[in-house]
């Protein structure tokens, strides 16, 4: 029996409240090396909040983050990025609108002493975007450029909040391939979203977030078979 993959980032018993509204009460999620974990749940269930807390963009009310043995009660995205994390948030752009994609890739390459990203550009078919300013991109182009940056970074942990949102079916396949390629290279990928067929196609493990807590469901097949998950999230029509 092979050893279980190493947990690179663990959010343990996280709680978060916004005013009177308690979003997370005891959420636990781990990002394992080479594993794509899908975090699914209804709107407002706390998926994005948990991802923001795991990335250091938001502080939890309680709970801890474990990053390769180090324990943090609160941290910052900049520190997590230096540890090898990359965040693709849903509500904000990861790219500066006043730079071109080429400038972003060059900056990233120089910062982390990475090889040239020609392969990534070719893979995602974004050569035509290289010398255009990010501010001129459409939503889909922006998402592809952001993913290119994540691929070029080849992070230890990638947290992607709703990466399939507003993506054409053809691009979705590119995204699935990209996430799988990252996992093969040893990246721990955590992604959220409601595009169930795509999410389940790319995921190795599924975690359901409901009523402020998380419930690991196992692999996508096991998730599909889970009665409560089918009833409360997938809907009765899900085969």
């Amino acid at each position: 029996m092979s050893a279980p993959p190493e947990a690179l980032l663990v959010a343990d018993s996280i709680g978060k409240r916004f005013g009177e509204h308690k979003v997370l009460s005891a959420a636990t999620l781990a990002a394992h090396r080479g594993v794509v974990t899908a975090l699914v749940g209804r709107n407002g269930s706390g998926k994005s909040t948990l991802l923001r807390i795991m990335s250091g963009l938001m502080a939890p009310d309680y709970g801890i983050l474990r990053v390769r043995g180090r324990v943090y009660t609160r941290t910052r995205l900049s520190r997590m990025a230096r540890e090898g994390l990359f965040l693709l948030p849903a509500d904000r752009c990861t790219l500066s609108r006043t730079l071109t994609l080429r400038q972003h890739l060059d900056t990233m390459r120089r910062r982390f002493a990475l090889p040239a990203a020609d392969e990534v550009v070719e893979e995602l078919k974004i050569a035509h975007l290289l010398d255009r300013y990010v501010g001129t991109y459409s939503g889909g182009e922006r998402r592809r450029a952001e993913l290119a940056l994540a691929l070029a970074r080849a992070p230890e942990v990638l947290l992607a909040d709703e990466p399939f949102l507003g993506i054409t079916p053809a691009d979705t396949e590119l995204f699935i391939d990209a996430f799988r390629a990252l996992a093969r290279r040893g990246t721990a990928v955590v992604l959220t979203g409601h595009e169930v067929p795509f999410i389940l196609a790319v995921a190795d493990r599924v975690t359901w977030i409901t009523a402020g807590t998380t419930r690991p469901l196992g692999d996508p097949e096991a998730a599909r078979r889970d009665f409560q998950f089918r009833r409360d999230y997938l809907g009765t029509g899900a085969a």
Partner: protein
């Protein structure tokens, strides 16, 4: 490899330094205009030195604040965070040029006054001699 959290990678140092200088100049320009307008309304004479920059730490603080807001508006803060740079790095690059300019103008203003006073001393002495 130990990554620095403060030494920004190009082109960001230039971006933030240029932005800091622009905001600093703009804020001082606005301050001078407001002071001139207020003096004209009050029909009070305004010494020209009051319109010069220098000795105003609030302008430096506003320059940093506006620069940080602009970095957020352009999503530079998130990109830089993904590169491992927090807001202190951005604030540092915005603070340095504004503080240096403000300090230079402050020294110049007070320095010119001191120089004028020292230059006036011998003249005052001569006047005293002639008067006696």
């Amino acid at each position: 490899m130990k990554l620095s959290g403060l030494s920004l990678v190009a082109p960001f140092p230039g971006v933030f330094i240029r932005r800091s200088v622009a905001y600093w100049a703009l804020l001082h320009g606005m301050r001078a205009l407001i002071m001139a307008f207020a003096a004209s309304l009050a029909k009070q004479p305004l010494p020209p030195t009051a319109l010069l920059p220098g000795g105003n730490p609030l302008v430096v603080a506003l320059t940093i604040g506006l620069g940080m807001l602009e970095a957020r508006r352009r999503d530079e803060d998130l990109y830089l965070a993904n590169l491992g740079y927090g807001w202190p790095a951005i604030a540092l690059y915005l603070a340095f040029p504004a503080t240096a300019l403000e300090a230079a103008f402050t020294v110049a203003r007070f320095g010119w006054g001191m120089l004028a006073a020292y230059a006036a001393l011998p003249l005052a002495g001569l006047r005293a001699v002639f008067a006696s």
